[in-house]
């Protein structure tokens, strides 16, 4: 078999798989939901940061070790790891929500920057890869827990400005939607 045949065969197979995947998707429309997405705002898991910090205190581990209760430290460690995992997945939800909102903003904007969008896509891919590696490491008990809190700092500072922008855009989008629907109603009455 020739190399061209193999390469083109693989390319065509990939194209067909992507074609089926993109066309069989049943997710809901972005545009009509963009406004509601902006109105809903973010459900930030970062608000649980203080509890997480408390739960991941190193001092607690040392205290538990001093109590000399058999297996207590390990059990607490397991519990904390479980909490850290759910927190990490919550951070991912926050991340996804940021991406979702950025798409909504892009869908409403009459002009978008190719470089910005490509950069965001690239960052998303990198984030997902790293997130998966950390998730596996946490499951395997390899990752140091306290550093998770650093991630949430990044999200929390940003959320404030994002919420302002979302509110502003959401109000304006709702105003435009209202204007459009009232003009439609007028047309119906005239007809």
């Amino acid at each position: 078999m020739s190399l061209t045949l193999i390469v083109l065969g693989a390319t065509v197979a990939l194209l067909l798989v992507l074609l089926v995947w993109t066309l069989s998707d049943t997710r809901q429309q972005q545009g009509s939901h963009a406004i509601s997405a902006l109105k809903e705002g973010g459900r930030a898991h970062v608000k649980f940061l203080p509890q997480m910090r408390r739960a991941l205190e190193i001092g607690d581990g040392e205290f538990l070790a001093r109590t000399r209760v058999r297996g207590l430290r390990e059990r607490v460690g397991r519990e904390r790891r479980r909490v850290a995992l759910s927190y990490l997945s919550g951070l991912r939800q926050d991340f996804e929500e940021l991406i979702h909102i950025s798409r909504a903003i892009a869908a409403l904007s009459p002009e978008i920057g190719a470089a910005q969008e490509i950069d965001r896509l690239r960052l998303k891919v990198i984030f997902l890869c790293r997130y998966r590696i950390i998730w596996i490491s946490l499951r395997a008990g390899l990752a140091p827990l306290p550093q998770i809190s650093d991630l949430s700092n990044l999200l929390s500072g940003f959320s404030v400005r994002l919420e302002e922008a979302m509110k502003e855009l959401g109000e304006r989008a709702a105003m435009v939607a209202e204007m459009a629907s009232s003009s439609d109603r007028r047309r119906i009455h005239h007809a």
Binding site: L23, G31, A106, S109, P110, E111, I112, D150, L151, N153
Partner: protein
């Protein structure tokens, strides 16, 4: 028409019949108003098929004149195919100015790049060049179309089932032509017989199947074209203000993930 196998002639006739049916459905349902370029594309295919049938009758299937006329006449439907796809994508993305602006650039760049690569090494002889150009065109067309569909999927934009059928049909047919041309070329290079009849049957059979799907899909009346939504005031300003900030934040998040295992992880 002695050199053209009997069953190829049947498939040819069938393809013309189904194309006429598609045209009929387009006009009967009024969908030609929404898809004028697509309608012209189907009509041009009918005209080309009839013209080629007459030319093959006159000059014979394997004559040089027939081959030249057949391949050069391909330019018109190929161009119309690109325009028809652009029309469908434009209809899907009409309410999204910004995304449409990005999509047509993706379409143009993907098509240009893949087509240029596909044409490398096509200068040996005329038939080699024509075969490579045809394969390159369909490959570039398929890649560009899938790239645009990925973009549409990324922004979670709804595609009407009729448009899905049209886009899927175009892409599937192009993929089949790429494979048929490649298999034909490989067999001919290895001296494993004549694949022309097989090529004709495979490509025309696929085209008939795609046309049948289109005919069924187009029985549905297409929705009114989406209104060009008025962008909220300041949407563009907010996009340009927020987009770099979002990317900056995502980049910082990635760096934090990178430092996850390191004890000296920095505070943001």
């Amino acid at each position: 028409m002695d050199a053209l196998a009997k069953y190829v002639q049947w498939v040819w006739g069938l393809s013309i019949a189904v194309q006429v049916v598609v045209c009929g459905v387009l006009f009967f349902r009024g969908n030609f108003r929404r898809l004028p370029l697509f309608t012209i594309y189907v009509l041009s295919n009918v005209c080309q098929a009839v013209a080629l049938y007459l030319i093959y009758n006159q000059f014979g299937f394997r004559s040089r004149a027939a081959v030249l006329i057949a391949w050069s006449s391909q330019c018109v439907p190929q161009l119309l195919r690109v325009l028809a796809i652009s029309e469908i994508l434009r209809l899907i993305l009409k309410p999204y100015h910004g995304i449409w602006g990005l999509a047509w650039r993706v379409l143009a760049v993907a098509f240009g790049v893949v087509f240029s690569f596909a044409l490398i090494d096509s200068g040996r002889d005329l038939s080699w060049a024509i075969a490579l150009a045809d394969r390159g065109f369909h490959l570039a067309f398929g890649v560009a179309l899938v790239a645009c569909l990925l973009l549409v999927h990324y922004y979670s934009i709804l595609i009407h089932p009729v448009y899905k059928a049209l886009l899927g049909g175009f892409c599937f047919y192009s993929c089949t032509v790429v494979m048929a041309n490649t298999i034909g070329r490989t067999l001919s290079l290895h001296g494993n017989g004549d694949f022309r009849t097989g090529w004709q049957l495979l490509t025309m059979g696929t085209f008939v199947a795609v046309l049948a799907v289109w005919a069924v899909a187009l029985r549905t009346r297409l929705p009114e074209p989406a209104h060009e939504e008025v962008a909220p005031l300041g949407a563009e300003r907010i996009y340009w203000e927020m987009s770099p900030r979002i990317n900056e934040r995502l980049r910082a998040l990635n760096e934090q993930l990178d430092h996850f295992w390191k004890p000296e992880a920095t505070q943001p």
